[in-house]
Amino acid sequence: MQAEGLVRTFGGRRAVDGVSFTLHAGDCLALFGPNGAGKTTLLRMLAGLLAPGQGSVRVNGVPVKEGAAARAQVGLVSHASMLYSVLTARENVEFAARLYGLPDPRDAAMRALELMRVEDRADAPARTLSRGLQQRVSIARAMVHSPSLLLCDEPYTGLDDAGSAALTDALTERREGGAALLLVTHNLTEGLALATQAAIMRRGRFVRHEARELLDVRAYQAQYRELAAVHD
């Protein structure tokens, strides 16, 4: 995935201001930043949900906004569950599987739910599930088509230990399987555990972006706290 010069403005304020980076197969970018830094806006542009004011996003050379073929390779875990509350967990994931044209959507849905260890609640309507279980179903929904680019916005929010472990295992499996990951989180330990790259975003820009192996985690944590604490 290649993001070049992404800019998005809301009412005169630049939410994302010239962000460029590249993710190759097997890469995982952990993206940190204080609230309002522009992380969610960036993810929505990468997923093709929001048109950039300037710049472009390409997956395997195809622009995401215009290309169904590019969107077919992207999975998104967002703040919102993106679930239909009336439908069951299985129906929600199966609906996504059908939209992505999977040959056996029911089977794919069950496997995705098993991956997130929520298969025992497959036939429960989404509205009856706890916030954490809804998050697991939402992640299963995003992964059901085995995307080659997985965008995760605070995916650990609301998950208990079992859910977090299931997610970490699933993300590790996807990355080892050749998918590129972008993980937005406030938790440096969680983010850096999977990352091959790390970036800090503030006021719409990447203020730091480097390879994971070059980082001293303790020094990085201190610097991040300092950066996040600076008021705009």
Binding site: L49, A51, A68, S78, V86, L99, Y100, G101
Partner: protein, 234 residues
């Protein structure tokens, strides 16, 4: 999951059917919008009936107006909820991020809405015929045809405006305000053509109005399908 390498996304009509089937499944589970619209339609027919002075206005003159006014407002109740389920928990992002065209989302929504309003018409037309004791006979099939044409036009416009209005704070008010002016040609043509049938006149007399309905459907289904993708941009 890793064995699935290259998914083949559904084509436009297949994706539209998936969206429609999902919407219908949700409506079938809850039935809230349909039952509300149905009760509204039947209460409307009843109120109009008791407000009617049979010595002043003939049933065949009043019934078409009653039918289409009630149907228009009952249909709006269904159209209101069309995109509501998508905004809760941002399920719409799942649709927009999927490898399907936005036109297919519109067509799927419109088809589900068409089934919804057809269900209302299925009950409302017999209710009007019974209440006003109309001698329909073989004209009921032609009336059903008019209803189908009118429903397509109303749904085509209403689905588009429902998508436009749903993100606003005044969605309940904005949808009727946007839609009703566009509904006028449909309601007028449907009322005029059905008035002739309810008066026992031959179908040929209703043909000019039916042509207007057909033309409206062709123009607005095409225009709304093409315009819909722009309504979802943030």
């Amino acid at each position: 999951m890793t064995d699935i390498a290259v998914p083949t996304p559904p084509g436009m009509l297949a994706a539209a059917w998936l969206v429609a089937r999902k919407d219908l499944a949700i409506e079938f589970r809850t039935r809230t919008a349909f039952l509300s619209a149905l009760v509204f339609a039947l209460l409307g027919v009843t109120i109009f009936y008791f407000a009617w002075d049979a010595t002043a206005v003939a049933a065949a003159d009043l019934a078409p107006g009653v039918l289409w006014v009630i149907f228009t407002f009952a249909g709006l109740l269904g159209l209101q909820r069309s995109f509501g389920s998508e905004l809760a928990d941002r399920a719409v992002d799942g649709l927009l991020g999927a490898p399907i065209s936005r036109e297919s989302i519109y067509l799927g929504k419109a088809f589900a809405n068409l089934v919804f309003v057809a269900g209302i018409l299925f009950v409302t037309i017999p209710a009007v015929v019974l209440f006003y004791n109309l001698p329909m006979g073989s004209g009921i099939a032609a009336l059903a045809g008019i209803a189908a044409l009118a429903a397509v036009g109303l749904v085509a416009v209403g689905t588009l405006f429902s998508a436009m209005a749903v993100n606003t704070r005044m969605a309940e008010l904005l949808l009727p305000m946007l839609s009703l002016p566009f509904f006028v040609p449909v309601v007028m043509a449907a009322a005029q053509s059905s008035a002739r049938l309810m008066a026992g006149r031959p179908v040929a007399e209703a043909m000019p109005w039916l042509r207007i309905l057909v033309a409206f459907d062709i123009v607005f289904v095409t225009a709304c399908t093409l315009a819909f993708p722009f309504t979802l941009d943030e």
